[in-house]
């Protein structure tokens, strides 16, 4: 899997194609966003999808320092933001943690063999409406 990613960075066209195949197989559907999440009703992520697939962790770490040390809360790549948009609600209207089996962040990381330390501290569901007025 790592190799696929590294190879992908060399040729943009090839990368996009590879990743599309990979995601399709990982999520058993044409879209990997989860039904019942805000993302499901939207067309695009905070960056173009191919870029998100390749770089989301770098974006997160970059913006993390800006938020924690400079207090800037309007960053594009906020972890609370990912969770808010990508966490799905179940039939009873309750949020399912993004780290649960088959959920957005978990399913792809499981497939890619990535383990996240983030959610030992961060909430894996939105616990409050974001102040953006939604």
């Amino acid at each position: 899997m790592q190799d696929m990613f590294r190879f992908g960075t060399r040729l943009l066209v090839a990368a996009t194609a590879l990743l599309l195949v990979q995601t399709a197989s990982a999520a058993q559907g044409s879209r990997s966003v989860i039904e019942g999440s805000k993302a499901y009703g939207l067309d695009s992520c905070v960056e173009p999808t191919p870029l998100m697939r390749k770089k989301h962790y770098a974006f997160l770490k970059h913006d993390r320092d800006i938020t924690v040390h400079q207090g800037i809360r309007t960053v594009k790549h906020s972890l609370a933001g990912c969770v808010d948009c990508h966490a799905a609600k179940d039939d009873t209207g309750k949020y399912v943690p993004v780290t649960d089996e088959g959920q957005f962040c978990q399913s792809c990381h499981e497939y890619a063999g990535v383990e996240l330390p983030c959610f030992s501290c961060h909430s894996a569901t939105p616990t409050q409406a974001t102040k953006a007025g939604d």
Partner: protein
């Protein structure tokens, strides 16, 4: 949007409303304006220094309203005693951002009760001893822990003259989006940093104190309520001998 959020906004409005009462046309109009408190989009600067003034004359013995509100705001009330733990030990070691403390004057016997939290020093000993740079002082005077860098060594806990810091000993199931926390890191009062960055004007403890013993504000703004209050009456820095220039000041001790 849930009722709870609306309720919270309304409470916030009622506090802010006191200050701005003169400009309020109708309650609804003001509510609208307050709900639009903007998240911060520019880096914090040293133009502002946040701090608190605590009037111990107003602080009531036995009352823990500020502690309760702090724990609710910052998700500390979600921590559960680990199974099989000794309740006494848990009570001694559980994470707390505010502790109610009693001080007694040996000569007169006068007992004073006060809330004790991170004093947001200008020269924080916790920052001095931190081997990783996790303990830091934000440009606006808030002393806090970057838990992405904290390795849990707890030097800062030993260095703090105010015993203001806590350690998270166990994994945590439930947490708030605004207050992530996990096993192996140190934490302490951050002056409700999520409120600061959302343009709100109070802390949870200030709002909760029915006696009005806690005043939060900008120490660098000569016209702020807190600066005026500090000029008007004597105030004390706890352990002034250490010359830390604390951002939290006390009256009546």
């Amino acid at each position: 949007m849930s009722d709870k959020i609306d309720q919270k906004r309304r409470e916030f409005v009622s506090v802010a409303g006191l200050a701005a009462a003169a400009t309020v046309v109708a309650p609804g109009v003001f509510l609208q304006a307050t709900a639009e408190a903007e998240p911060r989009s520019e880096a914090v600067t040293g133009k502002v220094r946040y701090g608190m003034l605590i009037d111990t004359n107003k602080c009531v013995d036995g009352c823990t309203d500020c502690v309760t509100a702090c724990e609710r705001e910052n998700g500390l009330d979600l921590l559960k005693m680990p199974e099989g733990a000794d309740p006494e030990e848990w009570d001694r070691q559980r994470p707390r951002w505010i502790r109610k403390v009693k001080v007694k004057d040996r000569l007169t016997g006068k007992v004073t009760t006060l809330p004790m939290m991170c004093q947001h020093c200008e020269f924080p000993p916790c920052q001095d001893v931190c081997p990783t740079g996790a303990s830091f002082r934000r440009a606006d005077g808030i002393v806090m822990v970057d838990r992405h860098i904290c390795i849990g060594c707890r030097y800062c806990m030993m260095a703090c003259p105010y015993k203001a810091r806590s350690f998270i000993h166990e994994d945590i199931d439930e947490k708030l989006t605004v207050a992530p926390r996990g096993k192996g890191c140190v934490e302490s009062c951050n002056l409700c940093v999520h409120r600061r960055d959302n343009g709100e004007t109070t802390t949870a403890c200030q709002e909760a104190c029915k006696e009005g013993a806690i005043l939060f504000g900008d120490l660098n703004d000569p016209n702020s309520e807190i600066s005026q209050a500090l000029r008007q009456q004597n105030n004390t820095e706890l352990r002034a001998d250490l010359k830390l220039n604390t951002g939290v000041r006390y009256r009546g001790i």
